[in-house]
Symmetry: C2
Subunit: 158 residues, 2 copies
Amino acid sequence: MKKRDVSEIVCSIARAVAEIGDTWKILIIKELFLHNLRFDAIGRQTGMSPHSLSTRLAELENDGIIERRPYQQGPTRYEYYLTEKGIDLWPMMVALNQWGDKWGSPETQEPLNISHKTCSADSRPVVVCSDCGEPMHARQAEVHMSAQSANDRATRSA
Amino acid sequence: MKKRDVSEIVCSIARAVAEIGDTWKILIIKELFLHNLRFDAIGRQTGMSPHSLSTRLAELENDGIIERRPYQQGPTRYEYYLTEKGIDLWPMMVALNQWGDKWGSPETQEPLNISHKTCSADSRPVVVCSDCGEPMHARQAEVHMSAQSANDRATRSA
């Protein structure tokens, strides 16, 4: 299967990673969350080549994850902003950040801490169950597959 | 910057995506969460070529995210299991799943629902603030950068 065909799998995770399952795209999205919005500055922080950066920015814009807004005329230069769809990637970024904190090397632990603006400085995001409000871990989760998804999997395993 | 050098950025997100910022690796991890553990079966569900699959499995094993356990002798065949480090990717998978549900095409919405084993069938994971317990969205979050991370960024922007 080609990477662009991954989105044909009947699975929200497959659809998501078909659009953003890429080291560089995630680093770009991180820069935009940190309000680092301009081409050269994003390039410096991520270490990406101009070609690699412009390719990814075009794909992210095409997928509706970011949008360009001019900040200078003659020549026109742009800043890049997350759209609503892009801002909705925030829980994924939090999850990656917490995983990197826990499993990365000790000398780079917790370089970014996230707090709730309306609360104390040491508040942080936690995944809980919408029903009981208790923290929800992998082993307490049960996956229910839709009939369509189960059919799609059965077809592939045949 | 080469992809393998991304982990040198003083940032937990960079360290995380250096290891798992790859469409195929995330699809493999999804299969293991669904308890689809064998080489051929993972290949069928993800549509990956044997070469591509074995390369990714070796990298994931090398990074301590998965481990092999023999299930058959002569010839020895293996099943692949998530380690604790791999299981800790669950919040990221949940985030990707919810993002794909929301922003994917309507005909593939919510192919996987996740519930809490101890609660009702329609419970689902939510990101809340550890302090006040209210749902925590991007716009209510404040990022605090460590001095080390701020220095690393200043060096890059110089």
